[in-house]
């Protein structure tokens, strides 16, 4: 018996691919922001400007949690 979800997947075989690509693009974007946060936090800490490091860490942690949350929406692998 066909379900709605199965019918949808069969009707739009490219949907999984689009979703996967969108998630990977978001992850790359988030990792880029995290690299920038680490760079600016470290550079400011070395310049005796330690006020930046802690907010940069909090932002980086929030982005990491968002990335983990995005993994939940990865399409299931084809059996």
């Amino acid at each position: 018996m066909s379900t709605f979800r199965r019918a949808q997947s069969q009707a739009h075989p490219n949907k999984t691919s689009t979703l996967m690509l969108a998630i990977i693009v978001l992850l790359i974007l988030n990792v880029t922001i995290q690299i920038w946060l680490l760079y600016s936090g470290l550079n400011n800490a070395l310049a005796h400007n330690s006020g930046i490091a802690f907010p940069a860490f909090i932002a980086s942690l929030v982005i990491f949690i968002i990335n983990c949350w995005l993994l939940y929406y990865l399409p299931r692998s084809r059996q």
Binding site: V31, G41, H48, L61, F64, L71
Partner: protein, 168 residues
Amino acid sequence: MSDNNEKYPDWKNDFPISQSETTSVTRRQFAKFLCLVSGGLATGSAFVAAKSVLSPDKKIKGAHRVCSITELPVGGTRSFVLEGSTTPYILIHLENGEFKAYEQKCTHLSCAVFYKPGSGKIECPCHNGWFDAMTGEVLQGPPPRPLPRLDVQVKGNDIFVAAAKEEA
């Protein structure tokens, strides 16, 4: 090469992983790897934050004698380290008669910097970075920050260095 009907040898049953699985990375695996990198970057940021909050740089206390004036000719430099520290510094006798002391580590990638006599500039030979010998400011190249400076005091025939006063 191999016939499908042929029975697999025993060693293949012991390692039931096809070659394509070992050489190709699926998009799922790549996404998970990106998440792992993200966790690593967050950990790195945590380390930087913890280090800057928990162990701030020690302030240099008091004045330290480096050498006597006669030991340092005009245009000459002398490297030194302060007691209880491993940070290298250089004392420079500029052509205008002033003495300046800076950390000898380039602010780019910590290469040793050298004073170029007669030019009024400090050079980092690694990536062609240049600093102003009067102020320590970056003149050219990749260094992101000025060289950390020490105050120099001349007392009698001796040269002393002390922590630089904070500028407003």
